[in-house]
């Protein structure tokens, strides 16, 4: 599914080179549930951006779904993001003053899906995340946990193979956080690959595999022995 080889990322600003990733080798198979951990500045967010095709590596190769994607054009990576990757962000990133239904429909707008299909699919997805009675609510009228569930429904809009979540519970209280993790686990059981960034061990323990990053290198990559199914 995902094969990284010698991926580096170097930021240059005012003649100062900052090496954020130091030659990452990584393989993630279809159906895995991976948590990427590490202190801030370890490079985990940059790794996530490269994995999510939001950024390109300085060097190295990235095979995604059987295809080399380390130097795709902007247009091609936009298409791949749209069709194969679902994003969940720490701060939800829903369109303000826009209904939950319309937020979920957004990726389908860019795929050119037909209107009735979009609406049906979006309301079905909101039902799956338990918000069938909140279709016409705007983010301001929803709790943090509910907002994140809308975001998950949106991530599922194009039925992607992978869901990438960047600190998905970072802004949530524990009870809501558990709800979100339960949804992720269920999605993973249905076959979705899930890659999640977190710095909280209590969140990471929900994943099947835990990768720890430090100063741009993978320092540990282990199967989570404490993993429990739902």
């Amino acid at each position: 599914m995902i094969t990284l080889a010698k991926i580096t990322k170097i930021y240059t600003s005012e003649d100062v080179e900052t090496r954020v990733l130091n030659g990452i080798d990584l393989q993630i198979e279809q159906g895995e549930f991976v948590a990427i951990m590490g202190p801030s500045g370890s490079g985990k967010s940059t790794l996530m951006h490269i994995l999510g095709l939001l950024d390109v590596p300085t060097s190295g190769s990235y095979g995604f779904d059987g295809r080399e994607v380390s130097s795709l054009s902007e247009k091609e990576s936009a298409r791949l993001r749209n069709k194969k990757i679902g994003f969940v962000f720490q701060s939800f990133n829903l369109l303000p003053r826009t209904t939950a239904l319309k937020n979920v429909m957004l990726p389908m707008l860019y795929a050119g899906t037909e209107k009735t299909t979009k609406e049906q699919r979006a309301s079905k997805l909101l039902e799956i995340v338990g918000l069938s009675d909140r279709l016409e609510h705007t983010p301001g009228q929803l709790s943090g946990g509910q907002q994140q569930r809308v975001a998950i429904a949106r991530a599922l809009a194009m039925d992607p193979k992978i869901i990438m979540a960047d600190e998905p519970t970072g802004n949530l209280a524990t009870s809501q956080s558990d709800e979100i993790m339960a949804i992720f686990k269920e999605l993973n059981q249905q076959g979705k690959t899930i890659i999640m960034i977190t710095h909280e061990p209590s969140v990471a323990k929900h994943a099947k595999r835990i990768i720890v990053l430090k100063d741009g290198d993978i320092v540990s990559d282990e199967t989570n022995r404490g993993f429990k199914d739902v």
Binding site: A78, F87, L106, G112
Partner: protein, 408 residues
Amino acid sequence: MSNFSEILLTAIEALRLQKTRTALAVLGIVIGIGAVIALVSIGQSAQKSVENQISSLGSNLLTISPGAQSSGGVRSASSRTTLTYEDAQAIATDSSITTVNKISPELASRSQITYGKNNTNTQVIGATPTYLSVHNMTLQSGAFFSERDVTNQSKVAVVGPQVVSDLFGSTDVNVIGKSIRVNRISFKIVGVTSAKGGTGFQNQDNMILVPLETAQKSLFGMNYLTAISIEAKDKDSITQTQDEVGYFLLTRHKISDAASADFTIISQSDITSAATSVTNTLATLLAGIAAISLLVGGIGIMNIMLVTVTERTREIGLRKALGAERNVIITQFLTEAVVLTLLGGIIGMIIGILLSYIVSHFMSLPFTISFGSIILAIGVSGLIGVVFGWFPAQKAAKLSPIEALRYE
């Protein structure tokens, strides 16, 4: 693009959420388009009114004036005496002139007119019976003086309605047969011309017509003419008439070089085009000023769009992360800008039409609104949206999704 309607709805929604800002941004375009529409339409009305007035002076009209075409602004006084009644009669009878329909020799001067205690100072024109038809005029009462009155130097007069009301206090008075004094000589009124409502440079309602020879010999003691008006056969032969008559008069006055002619022939179309060029210049000037206000309005739109792009950086980042390609983002923000300017254009157009209607109503000009200017207003406002929305839209599309998502 099947999703364009959705992009359009998104744009309208975004503008609706920022009502005050939208209204202020649109205001510049409203003023610009409103000014263009109003000024262009008022300009056209004024032009039309000038054209109407000129054509009401007589159709296919040519006027021969004494004196050379002013060279360097100097016109010698002696040249005022170069046209005579004999010239006019010769033009009327000569076989080389084929396109002249009617000819009207005229001697005009201002005089004091009195009736009892009332008096007025007006234009007195010595004329012949052809005067009326050459100048497109009719009588409302009485009759015009005859050829005989001209040769007999009869003391009869045809007066304009303005003169009637000045001297008799009202236009309803029956003045036929009444005696008025022109330069202390008594004249009997035989006719009254119909009101033409003429205003401006040559008011045909405020004048007195007397037989030509009466004017020359009894009133003013001049044996020359101040003008010969000619009615050409039809519109197409005006140039030919101008040439024929010009050549004939040059020969008759024994002048070999046309440049030193002692007369000037001006056609209706010369006057029209002179007047038109004046109103055109004015209209262009006004439209220029309006265009500048439109430019300022456009810059206002660009400014607002730049603010919008900055404010919605996170939204743009999210849209890109979810798979929006550059051209989708560009379309979205261009649509927003064009909706803004079109809105302004339509409101401005309505205000402009109202304004020009009010102005033409109060200045009693004919109200004209051309379909072209409506199309132009909408086209131009849309174009302003594209031109001034382009830079902000590009800026939005070039944002990197991660930078944009991080933006606080």
